[in-house]
Amino acid sequence: MCSKHIHEKQRRRAQKCPVPKGCAPNEAMQRCSSFIWNHQIFFLAPCLASFGAATICTKLVLTSPNFLKPELVCPAGNLPALKAAVDAGGDTVYMGFRNASNARNFEGLNFDRDEAEAGIAYAHDRGARVFVAVNTSPGIYDASAWTSSIDMASELGADAIILSDMALLGYAKERHPRLRRHLSVQASACNYESLNFYAREFGIRRAVMPRVLTLDAIRDIGSRTSVEIEIFVSGGLCVMAEGRCWLSSYVTGDSPNMRGVCSPAHAVRFEEQEGTLEVKLDGVLVNRFAPDAPAAYPTLCKGRFEACGMEGHVMEDPYSLNALDMLPQIFEAGIAGLKIEGRQRGKHYVREVVSTWRAAVDTCAADPKSYVASPEWMARLAATSEGGAHTAGAYVDEWR
């Protein structure tokens, strides 16, 4: 069912029997869960239970490390990147439409209707899922761009929609009750009370955790909610609680919540000053580089400033997130989705990062106890990361 370039007819036939002959137990369980997901046949749970298969219908077991490996959720900023992610082994791609409705509203990125339709077909034909992010807030503006994005995601057959604004969550629940709702990281839900609230109120099925939690805390949250947990594992590291950061609008006037952008390109200026390259964001000096040094993109929280008489990266070094080392613990924590950041990156980046993570996840799934992140994988990720250096961020307590 998951083989590449399968015909639609064959795919439909295959879906009738999600578990092929000779399938290993782990794989069989994963295929069952995919089948249930794709067909939303949760009502079958009691029947399955009667056949002694109730376990596959509970989140506990579906995400149990002994049975399932987490899903690799990969960035698709445009159609070539989507194809690269699927071809490289991504279980799922996430994308947004070309308007202010998603938190990566960058110039030249995202999908119009035709591209989205083609992308979803490409992914579905190859057994991959597609999530659509509509994760900014319409605020006071005409909400039609946001609601029509939700409508379009539903019409085009997206597998889930990623939302943060309570008004939009309510809209999606009412208008498209069968479309899976995921809580965006932009909602900044960082505890089980919040997740359970969103589940009761809006029927969310999964939540993406802000990058402020240790892995232990995430495991604890997962044990106290039926909401599936998705975490970022790779790519740009947001060091603030997503959805609760106004640094960008403080400096540039545009923020993730209101405009879907952080430290936007239109505000960036590079200026030569007496042999050094100054990088400014809307006139505010964010970093300085020697002429021959590579100049990083001036994301505000990765800039260099002065505090307590010391100059440096006061908030965060220009590191990227890399949790490859922690995969066995991530499996053990019962996390459903591993999210790779990078919708603003091109297809080559996506292919490289997704294929690396595919190899790592498969290796870990085969034998978590002897899993070691290979130096080759680490080197491949380091070569593609913006800062060239990695951190596990808030997942380890020492980072704080």
């Binding site: 605020g139 839900a189 505890n191 359970n196 106004w246 403080y250 002065e306 908030m315």
Partner: protein, 308 residues
């Protein structure tokens, strides 16, 4: 917002900086004596490590302050992640129910707990209320007053809040709490970690200044929070804010200059002093743009000052 126009009330928001409890108590006992202030918010919002004596201390002080006749609101943590932090919110809600107080919810966990326990709450500025739908949802769960996100232009208050049956509170003065992180930046700036922070924020009652490499002002470090460099003020826009249907003006306290801020806000609210004169007095001879920011009020960059 209510149909019947009521006079603006003045609230002092929760102290966002890390102070020793003795100093917090002194501040609030002093505030309780001020007739200019109608509402007091009390409770740690930023970092649970600052709460040495926990909820009991907070509630006892709140009860003591309630004798002043002011409305007392028990503020809660903005980013609770640990079990003991969630339990503290639950304990605050229990106390609020017992003593008939409001709580300030700064995380959806507090909304969930308040809703479950039937405790009325103020939806604080750290809940993302960018749309009428979000506001309506919170109202269904017991929000009696709401502080909209600080980056929202003041002119948009009416559009978001409209005729909602909830009071609106406007963050009218103080350093803007811009963001939260898992990392303690005060500890990092002092070469410490969050785990072993040694309560270094207690040494910096108005936070730690963060400057750009060319010496320009940038922001203020306050533990896991980054704030604006200069205080935001809407002192010269009070009449306009009242026209937007706002019920309460919030002053966010800090160590320096709080008495003057309260006195001048009250004077301008009561019409005893022209708002422009009050701003002039508060600026103490400086250009307002050298002392304050107000960009968010006008839908601009938050760090800027936009003159009339």
């Amino acid at each position: 917002m209510n149909d019947i126009a009521r006079p603006l009330r003045l609230g002092v928001g929760p102290l966002l900086f890390g102070w020793p409890e003795r100093d917090i108590r002194d501040l609030y006992l002093e505030l309780a004596e001020k007739r200019e202030v109608d509402i007091l918010y009390l409770g740690e919002v930023v970092c649970s490590k600052r709460s040495i004596s926990g909820v009991t201390w907070q509630v006892e002080l709140a009860r003591e302050l309630a004798a002043s006749g002011k409305e007392i609101v028990l503020s809660t943590l903005a980013m609770p992640t640990a079990a003991h932090e969630l339990q503290a919110i639950r304990d605050v809600a229990i106390a609020a129910k017992e003593h008939d107080l409001l709580i300030e919810a700064n995380d959806m966990a507090a909304v969930a707990i308040a809703s479950e326990m039937g405790v009325d709450f103020v939806a604080g500025p750290h809940l993302n209320i960018y749309s009428r739908g979000a506001l309506d949802c919170l109202c269904r769960h017991g929000a009696k007053r709401a502080v909209l996100p600080l980056e929202l232009p003041a002119r948009d208050i009416t559009a978001v809040a409209g005729d909602a049956q909830v009071q609106i509170e406007y963050f009218a003065h103080g350093k803007l709490p811009l963001t939260f992180s898992a990392r303690c930046y005060t500890a990092r700036a002092e070469g410490l970690s969050k785990r072993d922070c040694r309560h270094v924020c207690f040494l910096n009652p108005d936070g730690v200044e963060m400057r750009t490499l060319d010496g320009g002002g940038f922001s203020t470090i306050n533990g896991i929070q980054i704030m604006s460099q200069m205080p935001f003020t809407a002192l010269d826009h009070i009449a306009e804010i009242a026209g937007f249907g706002v019920d309460v003006l919030r002053i966010s306290p800090q160590a320096s200059g709080l008495d003057d801020v309260i006195r001048l806000f009250r004077a301008a609210m009561d019409g005893v002093m022209a708002a422009s004169d009050a701003l002039h007095a508060l600026s103490k001879g400086r250009e307002p743009g050298d002392a304050f920011c107000n960009g968010y009020y006008h839908g601009r960059q938050g760090r800027l000052w936009v003159g009339k």
